[in-house]
């Protein structure tokens, strides 16, 4: 198993850092899956996470100037590592002005992802910084847990309002209730509702637009699909967002699932929040 990557462009390094920082705000540990063309940050559905799962896909060519990997075997040409994205994020933040950043899979005191950077200095010599981020190699027999999630059979798909706006609303609603109902329809309307014994608050959004999926099924455009969520899960997702996505949409499976999709030019992030009763 081998992996070597090199990032030279400062903008790419910056962007990479922001993606990793976003991931680090969503989860404490996740799986990093390396394939010849892509990197994936995966959080699989577990009771411990509250059933939340995440799939983040990066195209390696958009970040790395050099990228070489050899998987476990030629047939299984992938590497799966368990890593704490917070460590990666911290390491990356200290080397933002690096002339070059090398990432390597190494074995030090334990298997590590080593980040080695050359930092510019006032004198002729550069400063070398190395961060060894400990990782756990995931054996092939567990790889099936980290496959790309299927697009759910959704009832409604709708573009999201600006994330900042939703975040503001959700932050305030959190003070009033632990659960939030998100509902939307195929006419570009979305509501965020909370209801307690004393008060109920609804925020209405309209003219959001619906993505043109070719689903064929006829659905009443006005009918609302609803998802009742633990408000903290939604808030955690919104708080972590570091980058403004070019497209942000969500798919609702009535009373089952909220599937959030954020697309940037070279990164896609999918986040699944299950409903609560």
């Amino acid at each position: 198993m081998k992996f070597r990557g090199k990032i030279i462009d400062i903008a790419c390094l910056n962007h990479f850092t922001r993606v990793i920082t976003t991931i680090s705000k969503l989860t404490k540990t996740c799986v990093l899956r390396l394939t010849p063309d892509n990197l994936f940050f995966i959080l699989s559905e577990k009771v411990a996470n509250g059933g939340v799962s995440m799939w983040c896909e990066l195209s390696q060519a958009n970040f790395f100037d050099e990228y070489q990997m050899e998987g476990v075997t030629p047939e299984d040409n992938e590497i799966c590592l368990e890593v704490a994205p917070e460590n990666l994020s911290r390491a990356l933040k200290t080397v933002q002005n690096a002339k070059a950043l090398k990432l390597k899979l190494t074995k030090k005191h334990c298997p590590c992802l080593t980040l080695a950077a050359d930092l510019p200095t006032l004198s002729a010599v550069s400063r070398a910084v190395t961060h060894d981020v400990p990782v756990d190699v995931i054996p092939r027999k567990l790889w099936h847990e980290f496959k790309e999630p299927h697009m759910p059979d959704f009832d409604v798909s709708i573009y999201l309002p600006p994330l900042k706006t939703i975040k503001n609303v959700v932050d305030r609603m959190k003070n009033l209730s632990n659960f939030l109902v998100l509902e939307a329809n195929m006419s570009g309307e979305m509501n965020l509702k909370i209801e307690t014994d004393l008060v109920s608050v609804t925020t209405h959004f309209k003219d959001l637009g619906n993505p043109p999926w070719d689903d064929g099924s006829q659905r009443d455009a006005e009918a609302m699909a609803q998802a009742r969520l633990d408000i903290r899960r939604l808030q955690q997702f919104l708080t972590g967002q570091q980058v403004n996505p070019s497209k942000a949409l969500c798919n609702l499976v009535h009373h089952r699932l909220l599937h959030l999709i954020l697309l940037h030019e070279d990164v896609s992030l999918q986040y699944f929040i299950p409903t609560v009763a």
């Binding site: 460590n87 005191h109 010599v125 190395t130 961060h131």
Partner: protein, 394 residues
């Protein structure tokens, strides 16, 4: 004692107190002819900091003119948590125009003259207590680094704020810094970071003996932040592992020093215990050496300093190691035997307590090093014992 701090100096004074607060819970005020010294020691006696403000720093600086018996010093110890809130940084800068500090009968009186004619007076009761001062002969240190504060800040920036200890290594070709971790458990958790610099990056680079010293980074950050604020260069003096490391800054009107004990690596690694408990045990077992230090011992030790001017690193390690059994420990290597033994002893890595002396006990005795010496660093050997460069003569 009566002094007035004016304008921007109030902020500097406050920042100094913040830096001292990183170390210990007590703050000693020591006003004397050389200026006002503020000192702090951490609870394990493994870290010491001192800020000396010369009389020029103050708008007005008055000491009581008559001193009884010639050695009446004000021994004033305050609780850090009483003093620190008075110097909250953003508001100190914005509101306070002048600060008057006076030490009276049993009170330290701090009067803050603020904007809009507001005067805040704080009366703090103090305890009479001998300040401890670390004995450290920096001119005997084989390794010396001098660099702008910004360089050192850039070095420590790579380590998280929560990082307790780091290891500074020096060799002929480079200086490196890495985080320190006790081996064995929690492999998944600890991220290892290492950074290295070329000697050219330093204003002054002297390597007398290649070594690695491990010390507490947290306790240093206050001084680095102070130095960066005032754009002062920082000097680092150290030797082999086990000997203390000293960081010092100075300018026309003030000097500051932080002396930190360093770890001795033990070869036999017992399951790691929390370093804090190790420090406590170390301090306790050396209590005898510290507390009951009597003039007799001091002069014996200082004699060793005087007579071993030209000798290598060996002597300072005798001086600065307090463990009684290690009288023959060469250059910080080898195993301190009983500390590596199982059960009764603490963690394998031992932080050596700094050798302290009470300020007052030395005023009569001292031969080679006068009592007010904080860090006797000088570029030439022959200025040992001279205090002139510390503050301009008045």
């Amino acid at each position: 004692m009566n002094c007035v701090v004016e304008g921007n100096c109030v902020k500097a004074f406050g920042k100094a107190i913040h830096a001292l607060a990183r170390l210990g819970d007590d703050l000693w005020f020591d006003p004397n002819a050389k200026g006002l010294a503020l000192r702090s020691v951490n609870s394990a006696h493994s870290g010491y900091a001192c800020f000396l403000f010369s009389p020029l720093f103050f708008h007005r600086y008055n000491l009581p003119s008559a001193t009884e018996k010639g050695n009446e010093t004000i021994k004033c110890k305050l609780l850090m948590k009483s003093v620190l809130p008075l110097f909250r940084l953003p508001s100190i800068e914005r509101n306070v125009e002048r600060c008057q500090i006076s030490i009276e009968e049993d009170l330290v009186k701090m009067k803050f003259f603020c904007k809009h004619g507001i005067i805040k007076t704080h009366n703090l009761r103090y305890q009479e207590s001998d300040a401890l001062e670390a004995v450290f002969s920096s001119h005997l240190c084989p390794n010396v680094l001098k660099a702008p504060a910004k360089l050192l800040s850039d070095m420590v920036m790579h380590f998280p704020v929560s990082q307790e200890e780091i290891t500074l290594s020096i060799s002929t070709g480079k200086v490196s810094l890495r985080n320190y971790y006790e081996g064995g458990n929690g492999c998944m958790k600890t991220m290892h970071t290492e950074m290295s610099l070329h000697p050219d990056e330093f204003d002054y680079f002297q390597v007398g003996s290649e070594s690695d010293v491990t010390f507490c980074l947290k306790e240093l950050r206050g001084l680095l932040s102070f130095a960066e604020l005032h754009c002062l260069p920082v000097a680092v003096y150290f030797g082999a592992a086990g000997q203390p490391v000293c960081f010092s800054i100075e300018d026309m009107v003030l000097e500051a020093t932080v002396v930190l004990a360093t770890l001795i690596d033990c070869e036999s690694r017992a399951p790691s215990q929390h370093t804090a408990s190790a420090l406590q045990t170390t301090a306790r077992s050396t209590d005898e050496a510290v507390e009951t230090v009597n003039p007799h011992d001091i002069s014996a030790i200082t004699e060793m300093v005087a007579s071993s001017q030209g000798s290598p690193v060996h002597v300072p390690s005798h001086l600065l190691l307090l463990r009684p059994s290690q009288s023959s420990l060469p250059s910080g290597q080898g195993e301190p035997m009983e500390t590596c033994a199982p059960a009764p002893s603490p963690a394998p890595s031992i932080v050596c307590s700094l050798l302290f002396k009470a300020l007052s006990s030395l005023s009569e005795e001292d031969s080679a090093t006068p009592p007010e010496v904080l860090v006797c660093f000088s570029d030439d050997e022959d200025s040992l014992g001279e205090n002139v460069r510390r503050s301009p003569s008045l």
